[in-house]
Symmetry: C2
Subunit: 349 residues, 2 copies
């Protein structure tokens, strides 16, 4: 019998279809589309070293002291998105238009070029390089939040064409908006309502529960728990949740950044092993920055493999049908790496 499950924060329901539960090897659609052998360097790729002139000028790069900007030699490089959806130069001009509400898309839209190597992605990178990417997120976040027009910053990664990725070279994106997305309001409200009723943080409760119950737990280190959430919208949806209650991911200390890099690389490698380089999106869900107090917020990173196609039901009701129960997904992910293979893949520390 399929089961309805509620996300206790957003109050969205999902249908978990246990009967037609799919194993990892039954999601193969992406393979035909996305199995390409990538070069370590593609002379036509604007994100590859030597082609810095093909992108907008860099806003930041990790490179040796004294090396000139917009030349090769960087390890991580951040530029404005060439096709930016939001514009740092725009005015805040929110206005009524007939009965509607509109404004220039003032904000920022940046690209984090994660590595000079064209063929890599975080699942198969050295953990230290994943750590550099996270530091780039934090540095850009802390710079962008100085802009008083900006009320929310989303950092995300699209991997694979089926996940909306149009450039093969490994990169993440940062979007800074002059409004708080409705989805964040809903999350803030859901957390407040839970706290009002139970006098606790919902995500802290989820963490404690999942660490105790174990069946949806993928892995655990000192700072992070990795779980497949109870009301997973998609097969193999996975959250990386900090064990310390913190509103903003930018508050991480150095040790936590290191452990996030380990957890992220490890989780993406498990997904890669289970699902053979699946398309996915990951998003850093963190508190708004409009000047309000968001101490009740609990940031986390959500990874959503794109293995099924949302259709009319999802569009009309936002009720998702999930054909792999999170308990099974977590079991597959736990079993995907044993100690030996993990050590072999983690790279030098």
């Amino acid at each position: 019998m399929p089961e309805l499950r509620k996300d206790i924060i957003t109050r969205e329901w999902v249908i978990v279809a246990k009967e037609r539960a799919k194993r990892p090897d039954q999601f193969k659609k992406h393979q035909e589309m996305e199995k390409k052998v990538l070069l370590t360097h593609d002379p036509n790729c604007p994100f590859c070293p030597g082609n810095e002139a093909l992108t907008p000028p860099e806003v930041m790069a990790y490179r040796g002291a004294g090396e000139p900007p917009n030349t090769a030699g960087w390890r991580v490089r951040v530029t404005a998105n060439k096709f930016a959806a939001l514009d740092r130069g725009a005015e805040l001009d929110r206005e009524d238009y007939i009965i509607y509400d509109r404004m220039q898309a003032a904000g920022a839209h940046e690209v984090v070029i994660e590595t000079p190597l064209h063929h890599l992605h975080p699942a198969i990178m050295d953990t230290r390089d994943v750590e550099h990417i996270i530091w780039a997120y934090i540095d850009r976040y802390n710079d962008l939040r100085q802009d008083p027009r900006i009320k929310y910053i989303l950092i995300f990664r699209n991997h694979g064409e089926l996940a909306g990725c149009s450039m093969a070279h490994p990169h993440s994106q940062i979007v800074a908006t002059p409004i708080i997305p409705q989805k964040m309001f809903n999350k803030v409200r859901g957390l407040a309502q839970y706290r009002e009723y139970r006098e606790k943080c919902a995500y802290c409760d989820i963490l404690n529960t999942e660490i105790e119950v174990q069946e949806r737990l993928v892995s655990l280190n000192g700072s992070f728990a990795v779980i497949c959430p109870f009301a997973s919208r998609s097969p193999f949806e996975t959250w990386i949740v900090p064990r310390n209650h913190t509103a903003s991911f930018a508050n991480m200390n150095r040790f936590e950044v290191m452990e996030l890099a380990e957890a992220l690389k490890d989780t993406l490698l498990r997904l890669d092993r289970c699902l053979d380089n699946p398309p996915y999106n990951y998003q850093l869900i963190t508190a708004p920055i409009d000047g309000g107090r968001y101490d009740d917020f609990h940031w986390y990173l959500e990874i959503i493999p794109r293995l099924t196609t949302p259709a009319g039901l999802e569009m009309g009701t936002s009720i998702y049908i999930n054909v792999t129960p999170p308990e099974e997904a977590a079991r597959y992910l736990r079993e995907a790496l044993d100690i030996e293979s993990l050590a072999a893949n983690a790279g030098p520390r």
Copy 2:
């Protein structure tokens, strides 16, 4: 400069990227995937006449008097979905599970087989046959709403693989849930807030505005206006909105059903002409049926062509980037049919 626009009911923002505006002929991805010549009859298709035994028994069919059920000869046929996500036999057993909330997926999941002809779809059907489909929706809706466990019914259509359709034979689906989807709560709340402030229905205001301003209007008949909404989430998103304020689509009279069939067929044909048989979902957005009063609700049908891939930004914030401003989409759709070609395609009345 891209523009941020707010949906005045859901308060969701979209980014309309005017600069990189795409013309209809720039959305061609679906064509390679979905260009297949379909037979009028496929002996292996469980929805084709003669194969009635391959589906669950019919719950309703339009066929000649005295003809036995589950045999050929029907014009429209409705069965339970063979892989139903919700089950008419399930108990209502909502329960706490640790800190979570879950229940058996009690409800219904039905398939409306729209025509015996394997190769058709509403854009290229006779308008009278589209009318039969709408009557089937209404008949099933009125039957399912008798079930006291059911609080919401969504009727939707997935067209094309990129829109999540796995069976080529033309069909729609009906999903009846024992909970009100969060998305409907949001819509009900948004309509109530608008009414509290302006003492009017937001959708009535939208209709009046769009009919007056014209630039987002696709077509108009006595009962329905067809518009590309101001805050369209996707290129060529199109709404068919009844001009009479009514909460439930099942309240339509015979004349309105006829005019909805005309508007729906005409709109899908325009989309077909502009975008060359695009993948799409359509959903009938109508009031909940939990016994509450929803006089403020205004039902409508939304058509969402699936021309771009939602990625991390959309997943993380539900802010959509739309690369075709609705003003341009509406213009293309208005110009897609002139009087002569419309008459030639409408089939006999």
